[in-house]
Every structure is written in C-alpha cells, then in structure tokens.
C-alpha cells in the first residue's frame, strides 16, 4: 500500500509537471453525484488526484438526489450546466433513449486495463448495458437486521423477512415497487432465475402484491437512503432494506449491532453519463478516462464498500483507507450468486403501471 502511494505520488508529480508546461485554458467542470460518503470517496479517489495533475481544471462537486428531472429540464432549455452526472443504470438507459446523454465509444474513449485488455472486455459482463454509460461501481440493495432482535435466532433467507411470526418487528422498505415485488416473489418460493418470468404474468403480479400484503401492517416505508440505518439504530425497525455501503458504514464505522442478510440482494450498477449538450465535453471525456481507469476504481473501494466495475480492479481492492479492515468480505460482488440483477427493460415498460398500482395498494 505504501509502495502504491509512492508510485501514485510519483505519477501525480510527473503529470503535474507536464500539466504546468502546457498552456491549456482553465476549465470548471460541474460533476454531479449523490453527496455524502459516496461523493467523498469519489473526491478522494478521482477529483483530487486529477486536479493535482491538471492545475487548469477545477472540479466542482454538486449533489443531487438522483432521477432525471433536472437533466431533462436542462436539456429542454438548452442551458446545460452539468458536465458529468453520476447515474444509476436505469436512468442512464432512459436518458440515453431520450437523447439527454452522449453516446460513448467505450474502447476508443476509455482507458485499457494495465495488461492491455480493451475497456469493453475489462468491465464486468452485463454492466455495459447502455451506450451512454460508463460503469463505476457495483452496489446492492440488501436487507440488514438487528442482530440482537430475536435472541440467538438469525434470519437466513428472504422467506424469513416475510415471516412475522418467527421474526416479529417492523420492517422498513423503500416506498416504490421496484425490488419489493421481486422480493415478495422470492419469499413466496419463486427461484431467483424465474422472478421476472412470473412477474410478467397478471397472476404473478397479483401473487407479488398478495405476498407483500402479508407484511403491509409491519412495514415503515422510507424514501431517503439515510433513513433505514437510523430506524434500525433507534430500534424502530428490525429489518431494513438499504444500500450496502450505508449498512457497511453503520456496521463498521458506527459499530451498530446490525448484520447483513445477503440472500436476495439486488445488484445494481452506478456510473457516469455525460450530458449530450454539455459545454465542456472534451475536458470531461479526459477526466472520465482517468476516473474510470483500473487504479482509480480500485482506489475508490478504499473509501466505500462498493465493488469496482472493472475486472482488473478487483484484485487491487485492499483495505479501508482509515479503518484498515479488509474490504473484500464487504463487497456485494462476493455474494453475487445469492442475488440477482434488476431487469431494467421490464421495469422500463412496466414501471409506470406498477407504481400506480403500488400507490393505489398503499392507499387501500
């Protein structure tokens, strides 16, 4: 690790020197991301080293709460102030289809792996699902529970989450149909690989809602990612769904008595998209090439427990930058076989209808 630091310091110094001699004009890049610990990890791993190397580039880090509302408004007005946006894959797909984001030629514009493997082969299979999207991390939405809630008993499967008799207490779930319907089917005995086949039928949808209804009165619905760890910490809920990085910091940094239930985790991909009408496309593409290379993706995993999206970064994931714990066991990619990937195409088609039905169901 020390060696790596020295190496990268050398590299930084070298490039900084090169940067100083060039007479490029100064650019401000507005990079938009999720805020909190996640943005902090990006600043440490990408923004700061890049700004050290390029004294003419200033990266402004802006926060948003996801979704495409601002992006669509900016694109419609033609006054695009964002240069780079951190998005989840499903938003990247929609934004790409609606012309908000710029298509990226991944092999030409992104860095190769250290061994020369082209980028399109280096990113994990199944992550390059949109031509406007460069993957960054794999995260998962996953259940955690209070380890002290039921004496020595521990839940092990999704069915336990829906078993209020053996595991009584409130559950806190995100207030949207995505994932919840899948989990309901999973708990109802549908095998991992068949979830979307079942969900695509009317009977399957009814079945998912019926299963969800069995725990409806035990659910506290959340809308903000910071809420579930708080509810579990306050003892207001015993099970909660949340992003694995948030659970990691609650367990490892705040020493909360939580444990992970990796069964049924929903893997998702987060990455960069470039607004099609952005004002600094060239400068941003240069930054992107740097920020998504093998070393940088591995560096980010030192600050937060999200798995790097490049195969070549995997072996370089080491210990947490300040806590010194081994990050490997906290990576959702380690438990990939217990989880599944959201079917974005299915949700793109059925999201509106399911959300309406879900909201109507909540009101009942």
């Amino acid at each position: 690790m020390n060696k790596m630091l020295k190496l990268s310091a050398l590299a930084v110094a070298g490039v900084a020197f090169a940067g100083m001699t060039s007479t490029a004009q100064a650019v401000d890049l507005n990079v938009v991301s999720w805020g909190g610990a996640y943005t902090a990890s990006q600043m440490n791993a990408y923004h700061k080293p890049y700004m050290k190397m390029h004294s003419d580039v200033k990266i402004n880090s802006l926060d948003y709460s996801g979704g495409l509302a601002e992006m669509r408004a900016q694109t419609e007005s033609g006054n695009v102030t964002w240069d780079l946006v951190d998005v989840v894959l499903s938003d990247a797909i929609t934004g790409c289809d609606e012309g908000m984001f710029r298509p990226i030629k991944i092999d030409e514009e992104m860095a190769k792996a250290p061994d020369g493997t082209p980028a399109s082969k280096d990113f994990l299979e199944g992550t390059l699902l949109s031509e406007c999207f460069v993957p960054q991390i794999i995260y998962s939405t996953v259940f955690a529970y209070r380890a002290d809630a039921w004496g020595g008993k521990k839940p092990t499967t999704m069915a336990d989450v829906f078993d209020t008799k053996n595991f009584p207490g409130k559950r806190t779930l995100q207030k949207k149909p995505v994932n919840n319907l899948e989990w309901a089917l999973l708990a109802d005995g549908v095998p991992l690989g068949k979830i979307y086949d079942v969900l695509d039928t009317d009977a399957g949808k009814d079945r998912a809602f019926a299963k969800l209804a069995t725990i409806k009165k035990d659910v506290i619905w959340w809308t903000q990612g910071a809420v579930p760890p708080q509810l579990l910490a306050d003892g207001e809920a015993v099970f909660g769904t949340g992003y694995n990085g948030r659970w990691f910091s609650a367990i490892a940094e705040e020493k909360q008595p939580f444990a992970m239930l990796w069964d049924g985790q929903v893997l998702d991909i987060d990455g960069w998209a470039v607004p099609a009408k952005g004002k600094n496309v060239n400068a941003v593409m240069k930054f992107m090439k740097f920020a998504t290379d093998t070393q940088r993706l591995a560096d980010q995993a030192k600050y937060i427990s999200y798995g790097p999206a490049r195969k070549s970064s995997g072996p370089m994931v080491s210990k947490h930058a300040t806590l010194g714990i081994d990050m490997g066991p906290h990576m959702p990619t380690k438990y990939a076989s217990q989880g599944f990937l959201t079917n974005f195409a299915w949700w793109a088609d059925n999201g509106d209808e399911m959300t309406e039905r879900f909201n109507a169901w909540l009101l009942k």
């Binding site: 289809d97 609606e98 298509p103 509106d352 169901w361």
Partner: protein
C-alpha cells in the same frame, strides 16, 4: 374673476380652456398615470407568474411526441381504418421514422409517451429503433413484425394512431382514474387496483374539511376571548396567535416532529404518566394523525385572525339586550351572537380550506403513507416519474378547485366588507 365664464355660459378654467374639457383631460391624465404605476407589476406578474401557469396547463394537453418525431408514420396512418394491421406503406414510413429517431436519439420520448397508455410500448419503440439501424431494404412489414411481438397487436396501432393528434385528453383521463380502452377506443374507468387520483382528491378534500372544522372549533373560543377581553390583556394573548403565524413553516413542522415522534416529547410524557407503556409508544407521526395535528397548528392563526376581527365589531350590548329580555345565556349566544359571526367563520374556513388543499411541505414531511395529499402526487410526477403532462393535468384540476373556492371567498368577504362599511 370676470373671465371665468364665456358669453354662452361655458365655465372656463384658469388657463382659459373650457372647464369640462380641462377636467376630462385631467381625468385622462390621472387615469394614464394610474395605469403607468400599475403596469410594471402587471407585466411582471404576467411574465413571471401567469404565463408559466398557462404554460403548465398547456403541457397537460400537449401531445407533440408522435406527430413531431414520427411524421411519416403519422401521415401514413391518416387513412388507416383501425380494423386490421396496417399495410406495407405504413411500415415503410415507420421504418423511416425509427431510423431518423435512432440517429437523432429522440425516439425514446415517443416510447415514454406511448408507454403511459399501454405498458410495454417503451421498449418496443426503443429496441426497434436500435434494430432499425441494421435494416437495409424492404418489404418492411415482416421485418418490423419480427422486431417486437407488440407490433403484431392491433391495440399497439390503435394507441399510435390515437396519439398522432396534436392534443390529448389522456392526461386528464389519467388524473380522474379513467383511460382509453385500447381495443375499442372508448373511455372507461381504470381497473380498480390502479385507481388512485380520485381517491387522493377525495382524501385531500376530506382532510382539508376535517382540518377546517377543527380550526373552527379551536379558533372560536379563543377569538371570542380575545375579542371580549380588555385590550391590554388581549394584545398580550394575541402573541400566542401571532408568534406561530410568523414562525417559519419548517420550524413548526420540525417542532411537531420533536413533539410527536415515538421517542419524542409527547410520547415521553405519556410513558411518564403511565398512559402507555414504553414498548407500545403511540404512532403519532408519519401518518394521518401527524398531518392533521401539524396542519391544524399551522393553519389555526388563519382562522383566528378573521374571526377575531369580525367578533371585535359586534357590540356587546346586543348580548346584554338579549339577556335582559329574558333569553337564557345559551339561547342568547346561539341566536344572537353566533349569526353575527357567520361571516367570519365563512371567511376563515374558506381561507383555511384553500390553503390546506394545496399543502405540500408538511404532509411530505410528516404524512407517511396515509397522510399525503394530491400536491405530493403532483411533486412526485414532476420530480420522480417525469410524467409532466400528468403533473400538469393534476395541477390544473387542483387550480380550478381553488379558484372556485376563491370566488366564494371573495363573495363572503365582500359581503362582510359591505356590512362593515
């Protein structure tokens, strides 16, 4: 003073012109001056407020997507009878549009628009556009039919044809839980498990009504007390009404969260006095109860102030007269005092009602699942689902209910003013 009138009796002003003309001119001048003073604000309100709202209401009927992004298909479908799948010319036109749309990268908007009326059309459009890049030559019908299974469904074409028109009432149908039947093109109710907006509108009205009633009940005694106490006491007590009135909405909402949450002040008190035990603290927030308590608190001053100002004008001698004529206190109060306060109750109630049906912040923060109102749904469609047409339609419906109420308010307050004047 001799030249004040001319020979034929016309009164002249100091400058020698006929007084009547001079007066007219002065009046015109004053009218123009008045207009000039009002114009800047009028223009400002027009541009920064009324036009935006008009723009929003246009979005609720605007249906440009298919017509603009699929112009060829739109033209080719003009004469389609809707009885069977269209023929090759339509498919050729469709292929042209898909290719153009794939290059301009805007075809996804058509997919999004059509998907509102039939689930599944989004991926049909986007995937077909992607595949269209590789298509060289026709006949296109078999090629397109193979691209996605939904192209073979008659319903798909009915939906496309219906949305070639520039305007739609589709969003309004959606906003009142109705839809087009894609087989027959008739307007029908949504299936029951998707009916949400009419429920929400009704609930918004019911909650607003409940809050209004609670406000009347709470405001009446304290307004009466304030109106009948000597000024130096009532001025002091008025602070209890005015301080909440002037305190930030978010501060008051925060305060209620501190009061009501399960580890909050009120539950602690209940546990301390043994009303509830520690394990079963009451759920007072993130539900309907929380919304009603917090909103009543926030809107109560809007009821007290008009009620107080009306009560202040009622001479105490009326009540005394009734009492001295032998009415018992309750009868005197109900038959003599209360009728005179009706105008105040009316004005306050409509004000509170108007404010509460448009409320957003407090329900969003303390409402949970069953305490959210229609405005929260509007915000959801603006920021999350991005269905701006539906947000516009819901907004216009809400706007019209508020305007109707405002007219009633105007009438009541107007009558009130006349009585006072």
């Amino acid at each position: 003073m001799a030249n004040d009138t001319t020979a034929d009796g016309v009164v002249l002003a100091a400058d020698g012109l006929p007084l009547k003309a001079s007066l007219t001119r002065a009046m015109r001048k004053s009218r123009i001056r008045a207009l000039l003073l009002v114009t800047p604000l009028f223009v400002f309100v027009l541009f920064s407020f009324l036009i935006p709202i008009f723009d929003m209401s246009m979005r609720s009927v605007d249906n440009w997507h298919v017509g603009t992004l699929m112009p060829e298909t739109t033209k080719a479908l003009e004469n389609w009878d809707g009885k069977a799948l269209p023929e090759e010319p339509v498919f050729a036109a469709l292929m042209k549009d898909l290719k153009a749309g794939a290059i301009s990268r805007e075809i996804g908007k058509v997919g999004t628009r059509l998907n509102y009326e039939k689930s599944g059309l989004r991926s049909m459009i986007t995937s077909s556009a992607r595949k269209s890049k590789k298509v060289k030559e026709g006949p296109y019908k078999p090629i397109v039919l193979k691209m996605h299974k939904r192209w073979k469904e008659l319903e798909t074409w009915t939906v496309i044809k219906r949305n070639t028109s520039k305007f739609t009432i589709g969003y309004y149908l959606n906003a009142v839980d109705m839809k087009y039947d894609n087989k027959t093109n008739d307007i029908v109710m949504q299936p029951e498990d998707r009916q949400i907006y009419s429920t929400l509108f009704l609930r918004t009205f019911a909650i607003s009504l409940a809050i209004t009633l609670i406000c009347v009940v709470l405001a009446y005694p304290i307004s009466y007390l304030l109106a009948t106490l000597p000024t130096r006491y009532s001025n002091l007590l008025m602070i209890f009404v005015l301080l909440p009135f002037w305190t930030s909405l978010l501060v008051r909402t925060t305060a209620w969260i501190a009061m009501l949450q399960s580890q909050g002040v009120l539950n602690d008190l209940f546990v301390f006095f043994g009303f509830v035990d520690d394990a079963n603290r009451l759920q007072l927030i993130h539900n309907l109860t929380g919304t009603i308590i917090a909103m009543t608190h926030i809107l109560l001053p809007f009821m007290v102030l008009p009620l107080y100002s009306v009560m202040k004008t009622i001479p105490p001698s009326y009540m005394r007269a009734a009492l001295s004529l032998g009415a018992n206190p309750v009868t005197a109060f109900v038959r003599v005092y209360m009728p005179q306060t009706l105008a105040g109750i009316g004005a306050g109630s409509i004000l509170v009602f108007i404010l509460s049906i448009g409320y957003y912040i407090t329900p969003a923060l303390v409402g949970g699942t069953d305490g959210t109102l229609i405005s929260n749904q509007i915000a959801y469609h603006m920021q999350t689902s991005l269905n701006w047409g539906l947000a516009g339609a819901l907004g216009v419906l809400l706007l019209f209910s508020v305007l109707a109420l405002y007219m009633i308010y105007n009438k009541i307050v107007g009558i009130d003013n006349m009585r006072l004047g």
